[in-house]
Symmetry: C2
Subunit: 369 residues, 2 copies
C-alpha cells in the first residue's frame, strides 16, 4: 500500500503525526537510521527495533553496485534480503552522485548523469528512469525521485536550470514507476534561492507525490541558510503529506527542522560518529577515546535507556575503541541511534503537550553548554 500520513497535532509549525506503512504505523517526527549497504553498520534488525527505530534508509546507488538490484529482487526484495520486517526508504542515488563518485567528476546531461564508480572507477550512467526501476526492484516501502543535489556555491542561473531539470526528471521517474506497494516522494531543490525553492516546491507538489522531501540542504552552507531553505520550501508543501529533510542528523538541526514542520530525518551521523569513538550526550558530543574516560565506570549517559548505557561503562567502550575492537563502534552506534530517536520521541511529546518551545530551549541550553 501507499503510505498514509495523518496529522494529529500542530504546535506552531511543528507537527505530530502518524505514518501508516506496509509494516505498521509509526509516529512522526521520526529519525531514520541509515543502512547504506542493506545493513545499519554493525547492527542487526533486532537492535534497531530495540532502540524503537521505525523506517530505516538504504542507498540505491550502493545497492545498485553491490550486490545489484537483481540479486536483491531474487532474494525477495530488500526486506527479505536483509531480514528487516520494518519499513525501508531508499534514496535515489542523486546525493551519492554529488558526494561520492570518483574524482567528484560527473557529466550531467538532460538524459541523466555520467560518472565513475567510487569502487573501481568504472563508467556509470544513472537516469531518472533507472533510479526508479532499481528502487522498484529493491522493493523498498518509499522510493525517492532522482534529483541533482546542487552545490552550495552554485549561481542563480545554474540553480534555476538544475531545479527545472530535476522537475523534468521527477516527471520521467514518476512515469516509469511501477510498484504497487511502494510510495514515491518528490524532492524539492532550488538551492539557497527563496524564489527557486518556492517554484520547486509548488511544481513538485503539482506532480502529486506520496510525500515530499527537501534536498540539497546541510551540505556546507551556514546554519541560518539551511534553516531558511527549509522555511522557503516547507510552506508550499501540503499538510496531508509527510515532509522529509534529507541527510540531516545533528540534534540541533533536527530540533530546528521539527519546529519548521519536518516529519522525517535521516543521517549517517550516529553510526559514523560511533566508528570514530564519539557519543551523543545531553551535554553535547564526547569522544570516548579521550584519556579522561580511562577510569570512568559510569555509562555514557546515566539517564539513557539504551542497551549500551544499561550494560557498559565509558571505560570499557574507551578500551574497545583504543584497542580498535569493532564492538566499540557497535555499542556506540546503538547509543547514538537511540539518542536521536529519543530526541524525536521527546519532541513528539512536547508537541502533544504544547510545550515545544520549552523543550527546545531546555535541550539547547544543556546541549550547548
Amino acid at each position: 500500500m501507499k503510505i498514509k500520513y495523518n496529522l494529529i497535532k500542530k504546535a506552531g509549525n511543528a507537527r505530530y503525526g502518524k505514518l501508516e506503512t506496509n509494516y505498521g504505523t509509526y509516529e512522526t517526527p521520526m529519525f531514520m537510521p541509515v543502512g547504506t549497504l542493506a545493513n545499519v553498520k554493525t547492527l542487526v534488525p533486532e537492535e534497531l527495533k530495540d532502540v524503537n527505530s521505525g523506517i530505516i534508509l538504504s542507498n540505491t546507488y550502493h545497492l545498485w553496485l553491490r550486490p545489484g538490484e537483481d540479486i536483491v529482487a531474487k532474494a525477495g526484495g530488500l526486506h527479505k534480503f536483509m531480514n528487516y520486517d520494518g519499513p525501508i526508504l531508499t534514496d535515489s542515488g542523486g546525493f551519492q552522485v554529488f558526494s561520492l563518485v570518483k574524482d567528484k567528476k560527473k557529466d550531467i546531461t538532460e538524459q541523466g548523469v555520467h560518472f565513475k564508480s567510487h569502487i573501481d572507477g568504472k563508467p556509470l550512467f544513472l537516469t531518472p528512469e533507472l533510479s526508479i526501476q532499481i528502487q522498484n526492484k529493491l522493493d523498498s516501502d518509499i522510493a525517492m525521485s532522482f534529483d541533482e543535489c546542487i552545490p552550495p556555491n552554485a549561481s542563480y542561473e545554474y540553480t534555476k536550470a538544475s531545479t527545472e531539470r530535476t522537475l523534468r526528471w521527477a516527471k520521467r521517474g514518476k512515469k516509469v514507476f511501477d510498484n504497487e506497494r511502494q510510495s514515491l516522494f518528490g524532492i524539492v531543490q532550488g538551492g539557497a534561492f527563496s524564489d527557486l525553492r518556492k517554484y520547486s516546491a509548488e511544481e513538485t507538489v503539482k506532480l502529486d507525490f506520496d510525500g515530499y522531501s527537501i534536498g540539497g540542504v546541510a551540505i556546507g552552507e551556514e546554519k541560518p541558510v539551511t534553516y531558511q531553505m527549509i522555511d522557503d520550501a516547507i510552506k508550499y508543501l501540503p499538510e496531508n503529506k509527510p515532509r522529509y529533510l534529507m541527510g540531516v542528523g545533528e540534534p540541533l538541526d533536527i530540533i530546528e527542522g521539527i519546529e519548521r514542520g519536518v516529519d522525517m530525518f535521516d543521517c549517517v551521523l550516529p553510526t559514523r560518529l560511533a566508528r570514530h569513538g564519539n557519543a551523543f550526550t545531553p551535554y553535547g558530543k564526547i569522544n570516548l577515546k579521550n584519556a579522561k574516560y580511562k577510569q570512568d565506570f559510569e555509562p555514557i549517559d546515566v539517564e539513557c535507556d539504551c542497551y549500551t548505557c544499561q550494560n557498559y561503562s565509558k571505560a570499557y567502550i574507551r578500551h574497545l575503541m583504543v584497542a580498535k575492537e569493532s564492538l566499540g563502534g557497535r555499542l556506540l552506534s546503538i547509543h547514538n541511534i537511540r539518542f536521536l530517536i529519543k530526541l524525536t520521541e521527546d519532541a513528539r511529546a512536547a508537541i502533544k503537550n504544547e510545550s515545544y518551545q520549552e523543550f527546545k530551549e531546555k535541550f539547547i541550553n544543556k546541549y550547548q553548554k
Copy 2:
C-alpha cells in the same frame, strides 16, 4: 570457589563430565570462545549465551597492555568490566610472548622473559609472578601458570631445559597466587619428546593444580605429532581434574582431542575465519566471498540452529563481506562459534550413548569429503 570437575562417563579415553564454576555448572568436553581484549570480537555476552557458550577465554598479555589490569580491577574485575556473567579463563601470556611480540625476539632468563610490546615496541618483562598477579587482579575464574611455549623445531636439550624451567616457573607462580575465588591450572610442556611430556606431566601434577593443560601443541608440527603429544601427556594427568588442550579449534583436532580425554578447548579460529569470510559447515569450510554464493539464498547450513542460519542467506553474508561491512564478520562469528560448540555437544551425546567412534567416523567422512 575453586572449580570442581565431576567425571560422569567414559567411552574409551573420551570423557563426559561437568565443571562447577563460580558462574554455574557446564558440561565437558567444551569449546571456549576467545575474547582476547575483554570481548569476543564483534559479539556481546548475550550472543555467547545464545550459542550455548560456557567458559570464555581472555588474554592476560593483551589486557596487561590495554587497558591494564589495574583498570580492570577498579572496574570490579573482568566480568564486570566486560559485562559477562559467565566463567572466564585467562591464559598466562606465555603463548603471546612466543607468537606475538615485536620481531619475535625475546630474551628468556630464569627470572622471566624480556621482550618488546607488539603495539609500540616498548621493552617489557614478564615473570611467572607477574603473570599470576595480573590474573589475580583480572579476577578471572581460571588462571594459567606462566610457561614457555617451545618452538616445534627445538632440540632435545633445549626442550628439556625449558620444560624444567617452566616447572620452576609454575612453582613460583603458585607461591604468589592470591585469589580465593580463582582456580589455577598447570601447563604440561615437553615438546615432541615423549619422555619429556611424561616428566612434565608428572612433575606438574605433583604441584597439585586445579586443572591441567597441554601446551605447545598445534603450533606447526604435523597432525600425528600433535596427537602423539596429547597422548604422551594426558595419560599422566589425574582423572578427577579437567584437562585443557590450549589453542586447538580445528574440528578434526577437537574430535581427536576429545577421543584422547581432553575436556576443554579454545581457539581464535572461529572468529578469525569469520573476519575473512569463512564458515564451518558439516562438509568442511567454505568461503562466503566466493562468487558462487552470489545468488545462494539458503543459509550457510540448513540444519544449524544459530541466529545467523535462522535469519540470513549466504548471498546476504557474501554481500556484506564483499562490501567490507563488519556485520558480515559478526554473523559468521556467531555461526562459527556455534558450530564448534555444537560439535562438542554432539560429542558429549555420543560419549553418553557409547557411540563416540560412530560419531567420529560420521563427522570425519562428511567433513573431509
